[in-house]
Amino acid sequence: MKTSEAGLNTTFDMRLLDDMARKETVIHRVHPLVKLVTTVIYLTVVVSFGSYEIIGLLPLLFYPVLVITLAELPIRPILKRMLLAAPFVIGIGILNPVFDHQVFVVGGLTLSRGWITFFSIVLKCILTVSAALLLIASTGMDKLASALRMLKIPRLFVLQLLLTYRYISVLMEEVTRILRAYSMRAPQQKGIHPKVWGSLTGQLILRTFERAQRVYQAMCLRGFTGEYNTGAHERITVRDTVYLVVWGLFFALARIYNIPMLIGSLLTGVV
């Protein structure tokens, strides 16, 4: 019980991302809009690679690695959150090796195309999920929302996104409380008795719903009308533009040229 509670706490503690977002580093200081656009370009580039591509994708690893280093973000919590996506990724990708038995030979190695696609999917997921997490961890959800508003995304969608994000932490906190209350009164039990699963989930839904409603009411009482104002009206500076252009160029290069192959052939002199 204790372990599962602690596990829930650390894995789902979205608020840790909020904590990370409050640091002050080179990356954190980049304008939210610029970071958002950079991330969107990155995601598009990653997804646009063919399903047999692995080598060509590798240079794109450079982006998350550099961002995580410059933003001084802790690696373990980010990795943990990435694991949340793992079941879906494996679920989608695992059938490829089963169905696709064609083989081909690369430099003496015989490879199944199925496995290649599988690894390509996994790699793409790692890249996209990490880029999205890093965006949140280095920007913060509220600033991100204001960036979305600058892009003229309708207010309702942005609000929906924000409240959903808040709702996840509200939900997780309720789960922790219910589990704690349960385990205190059922100390010898290892898990939760199946008999009460129904009533516990029912409780959870009702409680989180009520709580979310009260949080929303409290927001309205303080003049909230749907426009989320973070107070920071930063301007896009030259540095921000440079950030965007440099990454944009790098992504374009990585997409057009197979950089590892290029380097390889340069080194072996077979151009």
Partner: protein, 251 residues
């Protein structure tokens, strides 16, 4: 000034599940009055405050703030003048830092960021938690959260301050500080509490609620000493007015 008068006429509220929480409450609160709303658990105090703030709408009867009927349309204007501190501070704090939480209200009214900062620091100073401004609200202790919740309302500089059990979960010093703060607040105060000693000190007038109805309404100094009334409504005479436990004499 009559435009800050709060008036409630024959208010009824039934929760969706059929529970009658408020049954025909009427009163008038003038500008500058400080009113304590007291009653046993489940008497309907929190529900009454929600009705005042327009969080809930009455099934019957009406609420007037400054001679304006509280409806969905008039709500934005009215809320700018009223600030409410919830019974549970967790409902009120949702931003990532205490500072942002306190700044949330002023920013919604599109104040200049300079003015916002001034107000936030002032509000935090008033409740004595300036040193917590960069902390995450969900990591604070119960009493610190309460103080942050109060600051988040003070930063709006409301004309009418509504508080649901402000002193619960506060340590004696913080309770004292809060009472001083409330005492210095010249505008209208509407406070519900089980802390009858606080009500006795702070509120000139008390409204006793029992089962969703008004059991008594009058000067605090008369109501809180009425042992029979207090007893019938699930309350007790404030400690300060009871026999001194040490010397056994009436104070």
């Amino acid at each position: 000034m009559s435009h800050h008068m709060t008036e409630v006429k024959d208010l009824h509220y039934v929760y969706p599940d059929g529970h009658k929480a408020v049954n025909g409450i009427s009163f008038k609160i003038h500008h500058g009055e400080s009113v304590g709303i007291i009653g046993a658990n489940g008497a309907g105090k929190s529900t009454l405050l929600m009705l005042l703030m327009g969080v809930l709408f009455p099934c019957q009867g009406e609420v007037l703030v400054g001679e304006v009927l509280v409806t969905k349309k008039t709500l934005p204007g009215i809320r700018q003048r009223m600030g409410m501190v919830f019974q549970d501070p967790d409902d009120q704090l949702f931003m990532t830092t205490v500072y942002d939480d306190v700044a949330f209200g002023p920013r919604n009214y599109n104040l200049e960021e300079k003015e916002v900062e001034k107000r936030v620091l002032q509000a935090l100073e008033m409740v004595g938690i300036l040193h917590l401004k960069d902390r995450a609200p969900f990591k604070l202790s119960g009493g610190e959260k309460r103080a942050a919740a109060i600051a988040s309302v003070l930063s709006l500089q409301p004309d009418i301050l509504v508080m649901d059990e402000p002193t619960s979960a506060l340590d004696p010093k913080s309770r004292r500080r809060l009472m001083k703060l409330l005492d210095s607040f010249e505008h209208t105060k509407i406070i519900t509490s089980h802390d009858l000693d606080m009500v006795y000190e702070l509120c000139d007038r008390s409204i006793v609620i029992k089962d969703g109805e008004i059991a008594a309404d009058g000067p605090t100094s008369k109501i809180l000493v009425d042992a029979d009334l207090m007893d019938a409504c699930g309350l007790e005479i404030p400690l300060a007015l009871q026999n001194c436990p040490v010397c056994g004499r009436k104070k």
